[in-house]
């Protein structure tokens, strides 16, 4: 889970390692993910989101499909 200066730099990095290019996330989307995941982490009743909650969080950001499905078996 890394930062890149541009889509071009992502493509170069993936090509150099033989990795597929995955969906790209903007900084605003990343902030939403970070706050959704972690804003209650220091509280007594905090817990990691469950699979159905993860799907809902991702879908709210337009992140859908097998790549974002925490229970997908499409990747071996």
């Amino acid at each position: 889970m890394l930062f890149f200066r541009s889509e071009e730099r992502v493509g170069e990095w993936c090509a150099s390692h033989g990795y597929p290019v995955r969906p790209l996330i903007t900084m605003d989307q990343l902030w939403t993910l970070a706050t959704t995941w972690y804003s209650t982490r220091l509280k007594e009743d905090s817990r990691r989101p469950q699979p159905d909650e993860m799907r809902s969080i991702f879908a709210g950001l337009g992140l859908e499909g097998d790549f974002w499905d925490p229970q997908s078996d499409s990747f071996g």
């Binding site: 972690y38 804003s39 990747f75």
Partner: protein, 146 residues
């Protein structure tokens, strides 16, 4: 409050206060229990995916978003330096602390530095991108690589 919850809070609050991982002994003292019981709580917290341990079973590698070891993702909040496990977690630290923060990282391809002042409402307009290589279903197969 259960021992597991006390242990989790002791770990996270130690990270929040110091930027560093606590030792098993420090956590045990903080929760008023013995190291053996706290070690067992560590195993259960790992199963809940809120803790990642080093191979020794007692040193904390990750208490997401906090990293127990130095990384390229550095976050400064109120003068305290924190290390994040990944780009996502670098935003997660100011989000967890509900404080303003400064994120220092880099473009993984070019090495160009990234410096972002994170406000309570998030980062300023920024064209940088976040890339997650590993599919969601596989994140915890090897969370350090993820």
């Amino acid at each position: 409050m259960s021992l597991d919850t006390q242990t989790k809070l002791a770990i996270y609050r130690h990270f929040a206060e110091t930027g560093q991982r606590p030792s098993l002994q420090v956590v045990a003292e903080r929760v008023g229990s013995n190291v053996s019981s706290v070690r067992e709580a560590y195993v259960r917290l790992r199963a809940q995916r809120v803790l990642v341990l080093e191979p020794d079973g007692v040193s904390i590698r990750m208490a997401p978003p906090f990293s127990g070891v130095p990384t390229q993702h550095v976050v400064i909040v109120d003068g305290t330096t924190y290390f994040a496990n990944c780009a996502w977690d670098s935003f997660g630290i100011p989000a967890a602390l509900h404080r303003l923060g400064h994120v220092h990282s880099r473009c993984e391809q070019s090495g160009e530095p990234l410096n972002l002042d994170i406000g309570l409402d998030g980062p300023p307009p920024c064209s940088w991108l976040f890339h997650c290589l590993v599919p969601s279903a596989k994140w915890w197969d090897d969370i350090v690589f993820t």
